[in-house]
């Protein structure tokens, strides 16, 4: 990562280690719309240090979410090498990639994406259904995750009984319940008012500083980006 492509948002919050947990080398992602070629990412190089809290900013269509999807193992690059948490995800098959995601990545979505028929506790327990943990242990871990996000008194509420900020905190609890190394957050404050957004950002900071989670966040919100250790700016598929 060159100094030209990133800026520190706060000199007091340096990355905890220089060892990269995410290594992007010459990443290209091309889409075809009818016969029109769209190079959304164009030979991108990027390192994200383990234990850091970094943000991706840029105008719409700059490739932020595409890059996030690649790093999270939801998509594969057209060209280039992508190593995340020691695994070359660009070379993995669908089944291995799904298993890897379920163990390594925690997702925080802009629209929260909670299952409406499940309680907060059940929503948080979802990723653990893919493990061999007994039901009692799954429940215990989901309760702990909800306690971490400060919602232990709302665990039996359904999403429609929660505020937007609370829903996003449940989403964050779901992202950490299986103890992933990396949390990817796509516009986590995009649907929230300022106060709720600040709560969510504080929570992400807490996960980074107290629980050593590497956090990569896509955002349009300068206030959210200000919480990150490093902000990467993209434009037209390249870091600027």
């Amino acid at each position: 990562m060159s100094e030209a492509t990133a800026e520190r948002s706060d000199a007091k919050k340096p990355a905890k280690t220089a060892r990269p947990i995410i290594e992007c080398r010459g990443i290209t992602r091309t889409f075809w719309r009818a016969k029109e070629r769209l190079d959304v990412l164009d030979g991108l190089d990027l390192d994200i240090a383990e234990g850091s809290f970094e943000a991706l900013m840029g105008p719409s269509g700059s490739g932020k979410t595409t890059l996030l999807n690649l790093i999270a193992g939801l998509d594969r690059p057209t060209a280039g090498k992508l190593v995340v948490a020691g695994t070359e995800v660009s070379a993995m098959g669908d089944a291995a990639l799904a298993r890897w995601r379920s163990q390594t990545i925690g997702f925080v979505f802009q629209h929260f994406n909670l299952i409406p028929v499940l309680t907060a506790l059940e929503n948080v327990e979802l990723p653990l259904l893919l493990t061999k943990l007994p039901a009692s242990e799954r429940k215990k871990r989901a309760q702990i995750a909800l306690r971490v996000v400060g919602l232990e008194d709302r665990m039996h509420h359904r999403p429609q009984q929660l505020s937007g900020g609370q829903e996003q905190r449940v989403g964050i609890a779901r992202a950490i319940v299986h103890d992933p190394k990396i949390i990817v957050a796509d516009e986590p404050t995009g649907e929230l008012d300022r106060h709720s957004a600040d709560d969510v950002l504080a929570l992400l900071e807490k996960l980074n500083t107290e629980f050593d989670k590497t956090i990569l966040m896509v955002t349009h919100d300068p206030a959210a980006a200000a919480r990150a250790t490093i902000v990467h700016k993209l434009d037209k598929g390249r870091l600027t």
């Binding site: 939801l74 997702f107 039901a135």
Partner: protein, 392 residues
């Protein structure tokens, strides 16, 4: 929570639609059970017909009579036809209730001395049987017929003859109880002598059929052949077959109706499957983003397919269970009782066979799984990023 629990909870996404679909399935299952029970009730007499009881009728058609003297070959010179243990005769009377002529019931003129020796699956209290034999105008009726017309022992009743015109007066002397499913519980049985002596001379001494029991059901075919051979040289030849075979032959005339009912019941299930498929497809479409989230979390396409199929099967089973819950009291206590009491000749026992209930529930689950097949397959083909982008 478990994966199965999650599947079941998924039906709560749109309660109104789920409830309406479950009700739709329940009505389809209720209709299916009602039709299959009707078919089964219709076939009961044939299925349970005695194999060791033979009926000898006019070879041309059962509508034409036999000379009464034929009975002597069975009874008067008993032992002449090897294998026959008991024999009797009867004649179709075709009478109707004097005021409720639309309510059909079977009525026969029979030989009082031998009839209940052959039809031992009709139990009559000994004192009533004795009283009936003593009274030339006596009649014995089935319990269902007694209930249908509120007739009791000691009542005087009048039947209006159709084949034998006139008003025929009887005294109810006994009520029989069926001891086998095949027995019509709404018969009206009276003395053949009473009929015969009141007929013009040219119509006398004719009978409808001869019924006989054989010492072994395994010999029924051989004995039947021997009986018919006995009358080969007579002006009127006979045709003899087991009661079961005769019932089946009689049912053969109604096979088109039964076949049509069969097809209707299957069409109902097909409609149910389409309704379910539509509901499930709508649910999958609405929850595309939700499936995208599950895929992002690491769930595999096979998990998503299992959720979709499981949801369909859950709705199918709920509907099937509800349909059966409605069907049992409706048929066992309502429609079934009414038909047994008022149309006992056609439906001696109208009750849901356990195999029909099991088939209905099995069909509900199976067809729901099939209906969910296409939406489930489509769900497995979802691209996780496209699915996440889709707004609910």
């Amino acid at each position: 929570m478990t994966l199965a629990g999650l599947t079941v909870k998924n039906i709560g996404h749109n309660w109104l639609r789920t409830v309406l679909t479950v009700l739709g399935v329940a009505i389809a299952i209720l209709s299916f059970v009602l039709i299959r029970t009707t078919i089964d009730a219709w076939e009961t007499a044939a299925k349970h017909g005695a194999q060791d009881r033979l009926s000898t009728i006019n070879r041309v058609t059962f509508v034409m009579p036999l000379p009464k003297r034929y009975f002597q070959e069975f009874n008067g010179e008993r032992g002449k036809i090897e294998g026959v243990t008991h024999a009797t005769w009867a004649n179709w009377f075709g009478g109707k209730h004097a005021t409720r002529e639309g309510e059909f019931f079977a009525n026969f003129a029979v030989d009082t001395d031998s009839y209940f020796d052959v039809y031992q699956d009709m139990a009559v209290p000994p004192d009533q049987l004795a009283a009936w034999k003593e009274d030339r105008q006596g009649a014995i009726i089935g319990e269902a017929l007694a209930k249908q017309f509120d007739w009791n022992v000691g009542d005087d009743v009048t039947l209006v003859g159709t084949i034998y015109p006139g008003e025929w007066k009887f005294h109810i002397r006994g009520i029989y109880v069926a001891t086998k499913k095949s027995v019509d519980r709404a018969q009206f049985i009276f003395h053949w002598d009473y009929l015969n002596e009141n007929l013009p001379p040219d119509r006398r001494d004719m009978i409808g059929w001869i019924a006989s029991t054989v010492d072994s059901a395994g010999r029924a075919a051989a004995v039947s052949e021997a009986i018919d051979k006995e009358f080969d040289d007579e002006d009127v030849q006979t045709r003899t077959m087991s009661e079961q075979a005769m019932n089946k032959e009689f049912l053969g005339g109604a096979s088109a109706i039964l076949g049509a009912l069969d097809i209707v019941s299957l069409i109902i299930m097909l409609i149910m499957m389409l309704v379910l498929g539509n509901t499930i497809a709508m649910g999958v479409r609405e929850r595309t983003q939700e499936y995208g989230v599950l895929l992002a979390l690491g769930f595999r396409p096979r998990h998503i397919a299992a959720f979709v199929v499981g949801e369909g099967v859950t709705i199918g089973l709920l509907g099937g269970g509800l349909g059966l819950l409605i069907a049992y009291p409706l048929i066992e206590q309502g429609v079934g009782r009414f038909l047994e009491e008022n149309m006992g000749a056609w439906f001696p026992y109208f009750s849901i066979p356990p195999e029909v209930a099991a088939m209905a529930l099995g069909f509900a689950a199976l067809l729901a799984a099939i209906a969910a097949g296409i939406p489930a397959y489509r769900a497995t083909k979802l691209d996780v990023i496209d699915a996440l982008r889709r707004l609910a």
